[in-house]
Amino acid sequence: MFRTLMVRLVQKKALLFSGAIILIMSILVLLAPVLAPHDPNIIDIEHKLQAPSWDFPLGTDHLGRCILSRLIFGTRVSLGTAFLVMGVTMIISIFIGTYAGYRGGRIDYLFMRICDVLLAFPSLFLALALIGILGPGPLNLFLAMVLVQWVFYARIIRGMVLSVKEQNYILAAKVSGTPGPMIVIRHIFPVILSQVAVLFFMDIGGIILTISGLSFLGLGIQPPTAEWGAMINDSKQFFRSHPSLMMYPGLMILTIVMAFNLFGDTLRDALDVRQD
């Protein structure tokens, strides 16, 4: 009894801690123009590569742009893109996964064959290939990520729907003449929603890593937009003389990914969702 209580408490602490970091980051996203001391894109070659000062709390980069401001605006880009990618992916996956799982039959068969082929590719590589073929840029980054990710989640959601479908209360609903779409919306969605939420938070960290990785290679978010991965790419040439340029964006990525991973893990344990 005491032990489970302790576990709960630790979980709660972890949830609070990671939640607080996510909250702070969200505030940065919303209030970026207010909080940032400078415009993140103003180039001032005369003040390039400066050490931290009152005016530039974290110094300036190779074009004299304020690093702190770029980090703050970068939060917006990184989190915004990640949430957009994951959100759209999830909506598509819920729709297709539920349809395939609930209806079964030929559509389901077709869906599973598409899964076989798309999941035969490693997802990071397929995203790279797609974005390379479509051409670099934020829109293509978004398209490539969604096109690659949706199969994976749709298949998981299909599995969830399949297991819920066999429950007695669904049978009861069917027998009492509830129409199919109504059963899905009223009786199946509420059950799988918590599991989907856990999936969302467990994997969003990975999405942030992929987006910043592709932007680092110059394929995702394009300069001069402030994005953490692209900032690391920018500072590559100066990392012998000014290693701090590279430290800040990396630390930001690490912090936010850790926060989301911790949040997702504890959320999963708290809701007792099993991962297959």
Binding site: V117, F121, P122, F125, L128, A129, G135, L209, M246, M258
Partner: protein, 312 residues
């Protein structure tokens, strides 16, 4: 066992077919015209007439289905066409870059096994000890680490500050240390966690209790019985990991200027060198599928229940 392998192999055929179809269609998504890309890369002005002649020469004027069958027929004979950039056969180029990536991956796999297995076992055996807490925190951080940043951190501390290892490139064994460690880092974290959890689950199984009752030595119980069971999920995940490492090495390769397939692929993408792009995707898909197949078979060897399941 032979039937099990034959069955798995026959499942491979439709998937490989699907991969080839997807690869072929993917290239058609590209904006712009392959003939134009070819002409630009050959420094020939892309006039309308030149483009049309090129289309005929590359067989792009035929219907899509004929193009696909032609292409597939050649691919089966390992003829991937010639690179638009170097004009060399693509297959030769792939084989030039592939060993470097393979070397990197194999080293990373060895590192992952040698580091994560002992740590995972000790973490589970001495649960809630100082060592366990430390390894859990480290593996948690490791799993959240951006690879490209980690690569630069390693480079900064080991090559520039301490001057112990070469910065970039391929050559001696010392060149291999940082890239492979960077590639392995996230996987070491994942596997340490996975093995710890799986060990803990198996440590409380009845068969462990029974082995203790039989008076077996603790070392034998852990080494022979618990570890064997605990390794099952690890082996399953490993097939994916080897495939992911081989195909995901492009970030590490581009940081450390490692002359591997991933870097070659990224540069082919930026040049719009379609035959190379197509062949790389096909090759990577093929490798990934074969890795998963090998794991399936390995799994069947480890756990008889799986290979018997379908036979009755």
């Amino acid at each position: 066992m032979i039937w099990f392998i034959v069955k798995r192999l026959s499942m491979l055929i439709p998937i490989l077919f699907g991969i080839s179809l997807l690869t072929f269609l993917l290239i058609r998504l590209a904006p712009g015209d392959p003939a134009e890309a070819y002409l630009r890369l050959s420094h020939i002005p892309p006039t309308n007439q030149a483009i049309q002649e090129m289309n005929v020469k590359l067989g792009l004027d035929k219907p899509l289905i004929v193009q696909y069958v032609d292409w597939l027929g050649k691919v089966v004979r390992l003829d991937f066409g010639n690179s638009y950039v170097s004009k060399q056969p693509v297959w030769d180029e792939l084989m030039l870059y592939f060993p470097a990536t393979l070397q990197l991956t194999i080293t990373a796999v060895i590192l992952t096994v040698c580091i994560s297995v002992p740590i995972g076992i000790f973490s589970a055996l001495y649960k809630d000890s100082m060592f366990d807490h430390l390894s859990r925190i480290l593996s948690f951080v490791g799993a959240s680490m951006p690879t490209f940043w980690l690569g630069f951190l390693f480079m900064y501390f080991f090559s520039i500050k301490l001057d112990l290892l070469p910065v970039v490139g391929r050559g001696s064994l010392a060149h291999l240390v940082l890239p492979s460690l960077t590639l392995a880092f996230a996987y070491i974290s994942t596997y340490t966690r996975l093995l710890r959890t799986s060990m803990l689950e198996n440590l409380h199984q009845p068969f462990v209790f029974y082995a203790r009752v039989r008076g077996l030595q603790e070392r034998v119980i852990i080494g022979r019985h618990v570890l064997k069971m605990a390794l099952l999920p690890v082996v399953t995940a490993f097939g994916m990991t080897i495939g992911n490492m081989l195909t995901g090495a492009f970030i590490v390769e581009s940081i450390f200027a490692w002359p591997g397939l991933g870097r070659f692929f990224v540069s082919a993408l930026s040049h719009r060198d379609y035959p190379v792009v197509q062949s790389c995707i096909l090759l990577m898909g093929g490798i990934f599928v074969v890795c998963n197949l090998l794991v399936d078979i390995g799994y069947g060897l480890l756990d008889p229940r799986i290979r018997w399941k379908g036979e009755r």
